[in-house]
């Protein structure tokens, strides 16, 4: 676990890796701090740098459901009858003056009514869009935040901000931070797993793999993407005549060579490479077991409404539960195609149908297995959408918006059956209990047992942290 650059390293090699080097020095220092007990431990790699935890964990793992494209809060979780009344009228300029818009910049801004009715669900009669009856059926288990805001108004920076706390690429995403801090629990699966699904039909924006990058943290903390369809991992099976023993011998030989090189140049990326080779070898055995759904009974498959291996969001939700059971710390599922500049009324119900039952099934399944209490489930987009209509892209939709968005959380020590925060009566801006992405990150870290302000890594002369320079406040109001 020695990450120090040494004099043996050539100047070129050092400069070429200097960004890793800086992160690595910080890592080494953090590791040293916590070394007194686990120096003797069998698997120091499993321990994170935050040890022991400052707070007891309320959440042992995170399942983050990202609706990529930016779902409209007006057709999901934020009822706005007043907006319906003003349908077709000009948006009050007092609200919109000075606001940066993605595709409506300079256009006439007109109120656009919620396109689908809302209905009351659960004991608390929580109002959500009627397109989500399954989520409605578990609404007493979730906490809706209607006052989330973000900084970014374009997809990639907004995802970046949501994942890393910075709009600019290059920072570690939260899954990497969390595994760096807490260590990876699973020995034969990565601590941070990502799956991406897309509904049939349109071809939405891609999700860049840098969204699950480890940034300046060692790259073994980056997210590993599993495929929902076909082989979960490409080239997982050995070629015809290669036995597992032979493959193991190969990996051992490569590892020995890597260690030799590492002894000479001490590059943290070599340690990462060694770890990845060994992880890949483990995964050749663990992934087939993970994705083999024959053990799941018909009731469970019906609950999620999926056919195993169909690559749907529902199938990924079922896999998320299986990953959680196997000790994976941070599981992030993306479902694409929520970017409804146009065809809102036609397309959004299709997305709703693709995720509604699956989200509810995941919560129900975790709950019945006694896992919801210590699993934090988070449902977000990367930003919200405008209460104004957008008609310059064909049939009507809504533009990107950062002043208001809706999201929800469940489990992991978060209150159940709660609606937190509110937007103004047109849903233009969060008004009450305004939350930022930094606040969300701070809250998630807090539930994982980490003090967000104290969780830092030296990078480029700064104590870099997930919650950014501004810092985030734990959203105490939603905690159980």
């Amino acid at each position: 676990m020695n990450y120090f650059p040494t004099p043996f390293q050539t100047r070129r090699a050092f400069l070429g890796r200097v960004s890793h080097g800086v992160g690595a020095v910080a890592l080494a220092s953090l590791l040293e701090k916590s070394s007194s007990l686990h120096a003797a431990s069998a698997r120091p790699a499993a321990r994170g740098v935050v040890y022991p935890l400052p707070l007891p964990q309320k959440a042992k793992r995170v399942i983050w459901l990202t609706m990529a494209g930016g779902p409209s809060q007006f057709e999901t979780f934020d009822p706005k009858p007043k907006l319906a009344e003003l349908h077709g009228e000009a948006m009050p300029e007092s609200l919109t003056r000075g606001q940066q818009l993605a595709q409506l910049q300079g256009q006439r801004l007109v109120c656009h009514a919620p396109q689908f009715p809302f209905a009351k669900f659960g004991k608390n009669q929580t109002e959500i869009c009627s397109l989500f009856p399954h989520i409605g059926s578990v609404v007493d288990d979730i906490c809706i935040i209607r006052s989330m805001t973000t900084d970014a108004i374009n997809h990639d920076p907004a995802h970046m901000f949501m994942n890393t706390g910075s709009q600019i690429a290059g920072r570690p995403s939260m899954g990497a931070w969390v595994n760096y801090g807490l260590g990876s629990e699973a020995e034969n699966l990565p601590g941070f797993v990502v799956m991406v699904s897309t509904g049939p039909g349109r071809s939405p924006q891609p999700i860049a793999t840098r969204q699950w990058s480890s940034g300046f943290l060692p790259s073994r903390f980056q997210g590993v993407q599993l495929n929902g369809r076909g082989d979960a991992v490409h080239y997982l099976t050995n070629p015809g005549r290669v036995s597992r023993a032979q493959q193991g011998a190969d990996v051992q030989a490569i590892t020995a060579l890597n260690r030799q090189h590492d002894a000479f140049v001490h590059d943290p990326e070599i340690a990462t490479r060694i770890a990845q080779y060994e992880m890949a070898f483990q995964m050749q055995a663990s992934v087939p077991e993970l994705t083999d759904l024959r053990g799941e009974d018909a009731r469970t498959l019906a609950l999620y409404g999926c056919t195993p291996g169909d690559g749907s969001f529902a199938a990924n939700c079922l896999l998320a539960r299986r990953l959680a059971e196997r000790g994976v710390r941070f599981i992030q599922l993306y479902h694409r195609d929520w970017d409804h500049h146009s065809l809102l009324k036609e397309e959004l119900p299709l997305r709703a149908k693709e995720v509604d039952q699956a989200c509810a099934a995941l919560l129900t399944d975790l709950k019945q297995r006694g896992m919801l209490d210590d699993t934090l489930v988070v449902w977000t987009g990367e930003f919200g959408r405008t209460p104004m209509s957008q008609g310059n892209k064909g049939t009507v939709g809504r533009d990107h918006h950062n002043k208001s968005m809706s999201m929800w959380l469940a489990g992991g020590g978060v209150q159940r059956g709660r609606v937190y925060g509110a937007t103004d009566e047109l849903g233009y801006a969060a008004m009450e209990n305004i939350c930022t992405v930094h606040d969300l990150h701070a809250t998630m870290l807090h539930q994982l047992g980490i003090r967000p302000d104290a969780f830092t890594v030296k990078f480029q002369g700064l104590d870099a942290k997930l919650t950014g320079v501004e810092g985030g406040g734990v959203i105490e109001g939603i905690l159980a």
């Binding site: 007194s36 069998a42 022991p52 400052p54 000790g327 006694g370 302000d453 104290a454």
Partner: protein
């Protein structure tokens, strides 16, 4: 540094002798500031997160029990500081496990300036911006509470005496109710740290502290490799049985025989037996766990006869019986 130290001591003596002149105090403060930036410890030398130290403060004499220092100040050091500034570790060459050690100061000199909390390094370090590198306690450890800070402040302001009686120093916040906010879930694990590390190594299991609070107990964690955890492994945990407050045994190899070992986890609050080979015959052994709050029996062969004895465990709040033969809805 040496000259600064001796000067600081002489000034301190001067101040104690009651002839403090503004001039010399100002000089003391100035040089103290300069020195404090010069001796800013590197991130590496400040290393040291985990106190394996056993934390004992000598308050044996009966007189000490009535003093403000012993009653109010020493317990703060004991809880928040001694892990790194005590017998086993002396970060910055500072020890806070006795009055004499405290007054001896650290590598930067004295840390308490009687009568002047705001000029005392000890007070400055615990009240500065928590994101500052010099903030104490370092490394994400729990900071002093506002009440604790106030206790230090009034004690230093009143002269930082070892012998001043509890009743003689006014202005300290009242002590919390006797039961206190932190209930000890288990004995302090620190004295058994090496044993714990050894068990982790030989058994390939993890015994993870629940939090920084040493009496919060350990979590027995097997998710890394459930295949390694079997009845024989559990039997070897006897020496730390009372420290384990949560046991995550889902998907492990354990059977009813292993539940005998678990029945000795006297402080156990949460037990996950999901998808193990335990049966109704074994679960009955767990009724001796008087603190057990939740038990997860999902996907086991346990049936109604197995969970019936659990009704006698008064502390039990949750019994998960999904995918078992237990008639729904399992006892809640």
């Amino acid at each position: 540094m040496t000259s600064w130290l001796s000067r600081a001591f002489s000034v301190a003596r001067f101040v104690r002798s009651g002839k403090a002149a503004l001039f010399s105090v100002a000089r003391f403060v100035r040089s103290g500031t300069a020195a404090s930036s010069a001796r800013r410890p590197s991130l590496l030398s400040r290393a040291g997160l985990l106190g394996v130290a056993s934390l004992v403060i000598a308050v044996s004499s009966s007189r000490a029990e009535d003093t403000f220092f012993a009653q109010r100040v020493a317990p703060i050091f004991e809880e928040k500081c001694v892990a790194c500034h005590g017998e086993k570790k002396q970060k910055g060459k500072l020890r806070l496990d006795s009055f004499a050690q405290l007054m001896r100061g650290g590598e930067g000199g004295g840390v308490v300036k009687a009568g002047a909390p705001k000029a005392s390094e000890l007070f400055i370090r615990v009240t500065m911006d928590p994101t500052d590198e010099e903030f104490m306690p370092a490394d994400s450890k729990p900071p002093l509470t506002p009440d604790e800070v106030k206790v230090l402040e009034v004690w230093i302001a009143a002269g930082a005496s070892e012998t001043a009686l509890l009743s003689s120093i006014k202005g300290a916040p009242a002590l919390a109710a006797p039961q206190g906010p932190t209930v000890a879930l288990a004995p302090d694990w620190h004295p058994r740290a090496l044993q714990i590390a050894q068990l982790e190594k030989t058994l390939g299991l993890r015994l993870v502290p629940r939090s920084h609070v040493p009496t919060d107990g350990l979590v027995l964690r097997t998710a890394s490799s459930p295949g390694r955890c079997d009845d024989a492994a559990l039997a070897q945990l006897a020496s730390v049985a009372d420290l384990i407050v949560e046991a995550e045994l889902a998907r492990t190899q354990i059977t009813d025989a292993g539940l005998t070992a678990i029945a000795a986890f006297a402080n156990l609050r949460a037990l996950d037996l999901t998808r193990t080979a335990v049966t109704s015959a074994g679960v009955g052994k767990l009724v001796v766990l008087k603190k057990l709050e939740s038990i997860n029996l999902t996907s086991t062969a346990v049936d109604d006869a197995g969970v019936a004895p659990l009704r006698s465990v008064a502390s039990l709040k949750n019994v998960w019986t999904f995918d078992t033969k237990v008639s729904p809805p399992g006892p809640r």
